[in-house]
């Protein structure tokens, strides 16, 4: 892997994150970290969704299912052995990677809207299972006691913010690497024409399974710290359809064919939602998403990235 400006920026962002969370370099109030965590979580989810939905053209409505399985994996690990976050994250990722692989095997023979419906159904089935599983609290939910403070960050939320920042950097870097690799070019061929891709030598089923696995992994990773963030998790919050809707809307608004799209979309829409939640009401969120989505689908189907390319005149 060649190092370039992207990696310099990514490293700078990580350092800045460390500076503000560990050394409290800037006077940032606690709410900013609290809200920032959610925005960064959406960067991971939108980036994960985009690997299948944007690069390959397979629309996954089951983001909430993966996110929740990631979160509940942490609950199980906590109940079993009080596992620390550093263990929860990779295990949740692995569980969701397997889930993605399984979903791929079951559903990838379906195309278009049938695939989308199957992913939604999967999320519903998973929610039903969790609701009926007493070990993780069933319908009433589960508490996790977390420390109020953690060295060297101080406030625990600042620590979680930093962790999610690193996960977001990891997810975006992975997506960017995939996009520029042979695999990414194969994904694009599948999106454009699956039969032509096969006849050009692309092993479409294998690539689709890679996509569902990687995408599932990243979604699970995003869900792993959730229980520590909220302290209490119940099926209706972890399986919330908002995750599915946002992780589709953000790449669409940002631009779905490139890694920058979900990043921009999540930062923008995620921030607007956080501000709206505080200043007006949380019900407004979905309305904002809806209006923006309609606007972009009609006026700028290639998202913000597409608009920028057009302005620069570099659009192909």
């Amino acid at each position: 892997m060649r190092l370039d400006a992207f990696h310099v920026v990514a490293a700078a962002v990580a350092l800045l994150g460390a500076a503000v969370t560990i050394f409290d370099l800037l006077p940032i109030n606690k709410f900013a970290f609290f809200a920032g965590y959610v925005v960064l979580q959406y960067v991971v989810l939108a980036t994960a969704w985009n690997i299948m939905g944007g690069y390959m053209g397979y629309v996954n409505f089951g983001t909430a299912g993966f996110f929740a399985v990631g979160a509940y994996t942490s609950v199980v690990l906590y109940n079993l052995m009080q596992a620390p976050l550093i263990v929860m994250i990779p295990v949740a990722g692995a569980v969701c990677a397997l889930l993605g692989l399984g979903m791929g095997y079951l559903t990838l023979r379906l195309r278009g809207v049938f695939f989308a419906i199957a992913t939604l159904a999967l999320a519903i089935v998973l929610e039903t299972l969790v609701v009926n599983w007493d070990y993780v609290g069933g319908a009433t939910g589960a508490y996790i006691l977390r420390a109020r403070e953690i060295a060297p960050f101080g406030d625990y939320v600042e620590f979680l913010f930093f962790v999610m920042l690193l996960l977001a950097i990891f997810a975006v870097s992975a997506a960017r690497w995939i996009e520029r690799s042979k695999i990414g070019r194969g994904f694009a061929a599948i999106r454009d024409d699956e039969v032509a891709a096969e006849c050009a030598g692309v092993p479409t089923l294998r690539l689709k399974l890679i996509a569902t696995t990687v995408s599932g992994f990243l979604m699970g990773v995003a869900g792993a710290p959730f229980v520590l963030y909220v302290g209490f998790v119940e099926p209706s919050s972890a399986f919330n359809l908002v995750y599915a809707v946002n992780s589709i809307a953000m790449p669409m608004i940002g631009g779905a064919t490139t890694w920058a799209g979900p990043l921009i979309g999540a930062l923008l829409l995620g921030s607007v939602q956080q501000v709206a939640t505080v200043t007006i009401s949380s019900e407004l969120n979905l309305l904002i998403v809806g209006v923006l989505l309609v606007f972009f689908v009609i006026a700028a189907p290639e998202g913000i990235v597409g608009l920028v390319r057009k302005w620069r005149g570099g659009g192909r």
Binding site: R185, A189, V195, A196, A197, C199, A200, G201, V202, T257
Partner: protein, 240 residues
């Protein structure tokens, strides 16, 4: 001169529901041969190509390529074995430039590294006369250029057998000659070619041997001069 058998399709049958699109069609193509396939609209030519390239699974019979059974093999495996095809209705990778279209088969079928892609891709575009379109979006090409891109993408898989499904439809007569020229040259390099074409002048000039399909059955097979004088072929084309 005896040549080795490259493709051997035995009694291939394909049904769509109750409709029999291919009824025990057999054909064998020799290494290095220029082979023509003709027949009226809807006679099953494209369906036969789909069965050979693996985009459709045949319901009966079997297909052997270079001595190996193809049944059960995925299209991309057949491509890597050396079977390439063009699509009658062009299927460009629309989000990509013309050159990027070739990068897919170059990387996935002929094992080119990212650095060789441009050079080899441009060489193919040069041959097919699309070099000046290399950087253009493939979705915005004219129908004619899309057909050329179909051939170029098939060539980029480095095939041993190239199946061209009406690559010349809609081309002017000089363009038809250009494409014929390209196919002749590929054939001289040892590539076996199956040409499906409605332009009789082109198939007759190009092919060493021709099969004729009608309503899913093979009704004739032979040298071009035998085919033009075959009463059954005449009946199929002109009706009773």
């Amino acid at each position: 001169m005896t040549r080795e058998r490259l493709l051997d399709a035995r009694a291939v049958t394909k049904r769509f529901g109750g409709f029999v699109a291919l009824d025990e069609v057999s054909l064998d193509v020799e290494q290095g041969e220029r082979f023509g396939m003709i027949g009226p609209n809807g006679s099953g030519k494209t369906t036969m190509i789909n069965c050979i390239s693996g985009t459709l699974a045949n319901d009966g019979g079997g297909i052997v390529f270079k001595g190996a059974m193809l049944d059960g093999k995925k299209p991309h495996e057949r491509t890597r074995l050396g079977i390439a095809r063009s699509f009658q209705i062009p299927k460009p990778f629309r989000s990509m430039t013309v050159l990027e279209n070739l990068a897919i088969p170059l990387e996935y079928a002929s094992g080119a590294g990212p650095r060789e892609v441009e050079e080899r891709g441009m060489a193919i575009l040069e041959t097919i006369g699309l070099a000046d379109r290399a950087g253009e979006n493939s979705g915005k090409l004219t129908q004619i250029d899309m057909r050329k891109l179909e051939l170029a993408r098939a060539m980029a898989t480095e095939p041993e057998l190239l199946i061209s499904d009406e690559a010349m439809a809609g081309l002017s007569s000089t363009e038809v000659d250009d494409i014929l020229d390209i196919l002749f040259r590929m054939n001289e390099r040892g590539i076996t070619i199956i040409m499906i074409e409605h332009i009789m002048r082109a198939v007759m000039r190009f092919s060493e041997r021709i099969v004729v399909l009608d309503a899913g059955r093979k009704i004739a097979e032979g040298r071009p001069d035998e085919i033009v004088n075959d009463p059954e072929v005449e009946r199929a084309y002109l009706g009773e």
